[in-house]
């Protein structure tokens, strides 16, 4: 039997066995000598800090990466489906590459849509319907790359379900989904589990572990540090020691909680007047009036597709309809001779799309340095002072070990931390953070939120902050813009917990 083989077997009771398996990603060996057995009727959650090897483990199970040694045994007849961030990135990257061919052939309309991705309308899952709340009918004919991160995730989940899997491997499936979608998805997963489908769930959030999960595998630093039944594994003390951090973020003493800098004049940094964004018949934002004064820290909340990201993009210059609307940023109306680089220079940005954009291999430090030029990739030579500033932020966020590693080889959560340093490095007047905690373990989540609060306390920086989770609000928020479903009217309120 060759080493590193993937074998089928006929046992009735055992779905999956990893027998002394060592994984390999490019030239790195990971998760040396791993043993793991999944038996019939068991539903597993895989937990561990960022970069501990969770995605590598489940990708090996799904057959996406080969094991370097040992044996992976799968019960014959199992149909495995995987939903993962890597899949999403792969599709997104391929879309961009195909653009060259499309432009060459002058066929720019031939783009990937959820309908093409699904090879149909996505209703052909085992029950004949997409899960309630994950309906994507309204997204079917939109360009895949224009979907929000949460919408892309929904399309991939529906695709995975359409294959009627017997073993469903979900790597952070709830990321980017609004509360209602998360509840629908978990309800749906509970139902297919009771129908006999097996589930392996990777998650960073204890509250996302489905009630039906029976077992937990814990990883840390590329090693399995524990497996066992749910009751014994989901013990708060054990989890805190696994993550090296408390599960709940502690309220920091002192701190300027929810307070705008006292001297803040009534200087508007952003003004939207009667803003409407539409694509043909599809209205994303309707007639929105809103403004942000210097020093204010706003949370923008609302369901998937309600226009949160669109608002951010109008402000940072990435939404082209900013030019056909009355959008004023730093006092000047868009389309009156300003360049987007002049805007970007004053804004620090972290978004899931930005993270997808870094596809070339550069180091963590170089990614942080690219913040000085607002480039995706580093194309100019930074000064010594800039390098020093970048290193200071890397230190502040406690990610010194990532500085010299290749960005594209970091875990999802590690990449996010590097991007936060990139946003902070130039001392922006306005911070725009679109789900900055997505994909982060409790410890990193707390350091990111602490870093945001620190930035707000020690500077005049204003903040625009998007999240789907109540426990991901930084303490420094002062106001809330609450958006309804697509095109419905928005409300504005003072922030209170």
């Amino acid at each position: 039997m060759p080493d590193g083989a993937r074998l089928e077997h006929d046992s009735r009771e055992t779905l999956l066995t990893l027998d002394d398996v060592t994984m390999r990603v490019r030239d790195r060996k990971l998760l040396a000598h791993t043993n793991w057995t999944v038996r019939r009727g068991e539903q597993w959650a895989v937990l561990g800090p960022n970069g501990s090897g969770k995605s590598t483990l489940v990708r090996t199970v799904a057959g996406e990466i080969p094991s370097a040694s040992g044996h992976v045994r799968i019960r014959s007849g199992e149909r495995i489906s995987l939903v993962s961030f890597e899949r999403q990135q792969e599709l997104y990257t391929r879309e961009l590459e195909l653009d060259h061919a499309r432009h060459f052939a002058d066929k720019t309309d031939d783009i990937l849509t959820p309908r093409k991705l699904l090879g149909g309308d996505g209703k052909s899952d085992r029950k004949g319907h997409a899960p309630h709340g994950l309906e994507i009918a309204h997204l079917l004919d939109r360009p895949f790359r224009h979907l929000s991160a949460g919408e892309m995730r929904k399309a991939l989940i529906v695709r995975a379900l359409a294959a009627a899997p017997t073993l469903l491997v979900l790597d952070e499936p709830f990321d980017g989904l609004d509360r209602r979608s998360r509840e629908s998805l978990s309800g749906y997963l509970e139902r297919i589990i009771s129908d006999g489908c097996h589930v392996i769930l990777v998650t960073h959030r204890a509250d996302e572990i489905l009630p039906g999960v029976t077992h937990v595998l814990a990883l840390r630093d590329g090693e399995v540090v524990g497996t066992g039944r749910r009751e014994e594994m989901l013990d708060a003390t054990k989890l805190e020691s696994l993550y090296g951090a408390p599960l709940e973020r502690r309220r920091r003493p002192g701190g300027s909680v929810g307070r705008s800098p006292a001297e803040s004049a009534q200087e508007p940094l952003v003004e939207l007047a009667g803003v409407t964004v539409r694509y043909g018949e599809h209205v994303i934002i309707r007639d929105l009036d809103w403004r942000l004064l210097r020093g204010e820290r706003w949370g923008i909340f609302g369901p998937n597709g309600s226009g949160k990201t669109t608002i951010l993009n109008l402000i940072v210059g990435d939404n082209l309809q900013g030019y056909s609307n009355d959008v004023r940023v730093f006092g000047s109306k868009r389309g009156t001779g300003e360049s987007i680089w002049a805007l970007k220079r004053r804004i620090g940005i972290v978004t899931p799309t930005l993270q997808l954009g870094y596809r070339h291999s550069i180091t963590g430090l170089e990614v942080v340095l690219s913040g000085f030029f607002d480039s995706i990739g580093l194309y100019r030579r930074p000064s010594e002072a800039e390098v020093a500033a970048a290193r200071r932020w890397i230190e502040t966020l406690g990610i010194g070990d990532l500085a010299d590693r290749h960005f594209t080889r970091l875990s999802y959560g590690q990449r996010r931390l590097v991007l936060i340093a990139r946003a902070m490095v130039k001392g922006p007047e306005l911070l725009v953070l679109d789900e900055p905690c997505q994909g982060l373990d409790p410890r990193n989540r707390h350091s990111v939120l602490d870093a945001i609060d620190t930035a707000c306390e020690t500077s005049q920086a204003s903040l625009l902050y998007v999240t789907h989770h109540d426990d991901e609000h930084p303490h420094c928020l002062t106001h809330v813009l609450r958006l309804g479903a697509a095109g419905e009217s928005a409300t504005v309120e003072e922030y209170s917990l």
Partner: protein, 350 residues
């Protein structure tokens, strides 16, 4: 302008370090740039210039998909989006970014709307170089200029947004205002060029036409077919013949050539491959040199253009073309390629 040495030959290059955006904005401060055609190159260049803070308007036939796309991209009908003639009248630099065939057809309308002192801008020199055949003859009181980005519209936009820029060549065909060159370079910077290489309309077109007929497509497909045929005639299977002719080239070799050059490839292969490739290279060169000579003169004397324009205007052009393409697509080699591609590791699970 900076001097750079390419293989021992010195060339002049404009860099964005010596020619910052601010300088371009200053030179074009009183200009309105009208982008005619919102198809492939048009959107990329128009969006980049607008994002750089230049005054840009779009000219596009009303109704239709491209008009709708322009509206989605934030162009406002009556303010920054007009029909072709109105945009041409309003612009001072008119970027003529429709297809070669479209340029010929649309020219009488454009010509009537150009004003004295305007600059007529191209990203491909075809219509001007072959003006006797295309009829695109601008009056002597306007500038005729060119900036040709070395990449698709997609790269022009994507590289701009990620902050890297794209390299372009530029040329002046006619300088009526005495400002033609500075307008050209400033517009080149405005559309997001990193480096700008000087050329002429003729050289841009002649190298382009020679390249696509030669190494880039015509010659490449031709020698692939020849090698494939010989391998097949001598008993090799289609998959083996395809792998040795196309697959290894496209999947590994050409990427290494892209990164390191063919010289590196020669220095870093097995002795067997190295000896043979060194010995056979001169023989292929000798065999093809006369064909390239013939090709180049056919480009220069306008014969190639004549063929294209005549074929394009024939009533049954589409049918004849479809038949030719079907023959190529149905050939054993490219059918074999379809199967070989489906067996690539990354496609196993699809």
């Amino acid at each position: 302008m900076a001097k750079m040495t390419f293989g021992g030959v010195e060339e002049t290059v404009v860099t964005r370090e010596e020619y910052p955006l601010e300088k371009a904005r200053d030179i074009l401060r009183d200009e309105t740039i009208a982008v005619i055609g919102y198809g492939v190159q048009g959107p990329a260049q128009a969006l980049n210039m607008r994002d750089n803070g230049f005054r840009v308007i779009v000219g596009q036939r009303k109704g239709g998909k491209s008009w709708e796309k322009a509206v989605n991209d934030g162009w406002v009908p009556g303010e920054t989006l007009f029909d072709v003639e109105e945009a041409t009248r309003r612009g001072t630099i008119i970027q003529y970014l429709v297809s070669d065939a479209g340029q010929k057809a649309l020219w009488p309308k454009i010509k009537a709307c150009l004003n004295k002192g305007d600059a007529l801008y191209f990203s491909h020199g075809f219509s001007i170089v072959y003006k006797e055949q295309t009829g695109v003859v601008p009056s002597p009181d306007i500038d005729v200029i060119l900036v040709a980005p070395k990449g698709s519209g997609t790269s022009v936009r994507a590289n701009y947004l990620d902050g890297s820029g794209i390299n372009s060549s530029y040329a002046v065909f006619q300088d009526a205002t005495g400002r033609a060159e500075e307008r050209t370079i400033a517009t080149g910077i405005a559309i997001g060029s990193g480096y700008l290489f000087p050329t002429t309309f003729e050289h841009e077109v002649h190298s382009d036409l020679t390249g696509e007929r030669g190494v880039l497509m015509g010659a490449l497909a031709g020698i692939m077919e020849a090698q494939y045929e010989v391998l097949r005639k001598n008993g090799h299977t289609p998959s083996e013949a395809f792998n040795e002719t196309v697959e290894e080239l496209t999947q590994s070799l050409i990427r290494l050539v892209g990164q390191n050059g063919m010289d590196w490839m020669y220095a870093n292969c097995s002795t067997t491959a190295q000896r043979g490739a060194l010995d056979w290279k001169p023989r292929f060169k000798k065999a093809t040199l006369p064909v390239f000579e013939e090709l180049y003169s056919s480009v220069i004397n306008g014969k190639e253009t004549e063929i294209v324009l005549r074929a394009n205007s024939a009533d049954d052009y589409r049918e004849k073309l479809d038949a030719e393409l079907a023959e190529l697509g149905g050939s054993e080699m490219w059918q074999a390629g379809k199967t070989v591609r489906s067996l690539r590791p990354e496609n196993w699970k699809k």
